[in-house]
Amino acid sequence: MASDKVHIRFEGKTLECRSDTTVAVALWENGVRCLSRSPKYGRPRGVTCARGHCTACLMRVDNIPNVRTCELPVREGMEIQRQDAGAFYAAPMQKVLAAGSAFFPVGFYYKWFTKPATVSRLFLNGIRPLTGVGRLPGPEHATRVLPPASDPQDPTAASATDLGRFDTVIVGAGPSGLAAAEKATGRVLILDDHEIPGGQRYGALRRLAEDQGKILDRFDVLRSSLERIEKLRDQFSTRNDVTFLQGTRAIAGYHPDHLLLRREDRLQSVKFDTLIWAAGALDTLGLFPGNDTPGLLGPRALYRLLVRDGLQVKGMHVLIIGGGLDFWLSAALLDVAGAHLSLVVTNSDDPSEIPAAVDRKWPLNTGLILDNISGMGEQKLRASFSPDGSQSIRHDSQMTMDADLAVICNRAKPAYDVPFQLGGDVTLQPDLGGFALSDDSSLVAVGEAGGNLPGDPAHPADEVNIP
């Protein structure tokens, strides 16, 4: 992929990077994976969600703190600094901290240090530069005003920030959102944080369809998934009466019918009679030792990094753990991108794809469970496994695998926060992966948010029920 080069400044060094990517990926490709340190234990953190949700990629950019670098395009001359990653978090200082923790028992209240005020000020002035936190934006940003909405082609974006009222607002333009749009009547608005409708997997599936080696023909689950999305996209493209907002996400709900949307830096407000919550699921990495190691990703983050940001993985060793549609999609996508794969199938509900994987000469392991993952320096990680007790394959004892990158494909979890804010009935439903919205009169959950899995033949996305 040919692209222009730009230069960014990172902690005193000048780095060259592609012009069509994000700051987080530019740093990764220049060998910087640790973008921040965690607040309590000072652990290295790298890009994790790749969609602006988590803390891991927050950096100081052009003197503005807490910028989501996983979503920020690079620009010539940009000045990037890590926050919270100063000398305070170097290994020797960690030992000093650990020794001092005996003086801070459970129940210790930090405000005991607020008097006398002079001591408090000295303490804070000393501690803040050490940790790298607490530096406010420079005064030049105090009156920073947002630029006008940029896209004059899109009437809704160019006009005022109030979009008015719609009969139906659909959040998410994946397969289930598109299926819902097909059935919705009246004034309909559909929004998605991608540039085109199709959902989180669509870009990755398109990339496979362009592959010369016709990898899609080997994996029925992937080809049928793409065909279903293409069909829904074709139907949707004839619906001139439906407004599509690209690059937009719902970020707040005000009871009972008011949504706040964000597109890049700009907010928009919209009201609805019926909300269809088809927001894509969130990656679930799972609970195991070292589950915060940089280089550990969920499949949806992988799709964004590879397809949207063009992360180069040629020659990398990648470990893929889990099962299901996202497991095979991740493997195929990484294979086409030139990575060396190691597969560990821990969820063998779908063994039908295994022969195709063997055909592709992907090293494949079964009968293992993941024990832990640890970072091996800045760029490598090591995963340890033990036998899961099934007798299909014998493993003597624990085994380890080293990789540059690990992708964990677990059952994803629904997004539920905005429906809850709108007064929706949100309960913990483990078979859906976590908290999820239960339908009521004006709030309807479809797709992965509502248990109708697009990849699940028992619940085809085009059979969603809209009241």
Partner: protein
């Protein structure tokens, strides 16, 4: 590198064992556990951890998952700047449900 920890909440660095310890100290609701441990109070506003924390709590209390009460999640669901809010023509109106805790 320090001994591997299991992170329940990455934003606020809350480990699974800290969450279990807090439960052992008598905090038995997700709301009080959130306030005590900080789980779900970080930049991601619980997107990364509250479902997992609730699942763990259901196991600790030995209750059906459906009985774990979600904490009150107030809008917005992600951090915004004042500049972003000030650029809105129409400020958000209406009240959040249950804004009494």
């Amino acid at each position: 590198m320090s001994k591997a920890k299991i992170f329940l909440c990455r934003c606020e660095d809350v480990t699974l064992s800290e969450f279990r310890d807090a439960y052992g100290e008598g905090f038995t609701e997700l709301e009080s556990l959130k306030r005590y441990t900080g789980v779900g109070t970080g930049f991601c506003q619980g997107k990364g951890c509250l479902s997992e924390a609730a699942g763990e709590l259901a196991v600790l209390r030995n209750i059906p998952p459906g009985e774990v009460k979600l904490t009150n999640i107030r809008p917005p669901a992600e951090p915004l700047t004042f500049a972003q809010l000030a650029a809105l023509d129409v400020p958000p109106a209406g009240n959040n449900v249950e804004d009494d805790s």
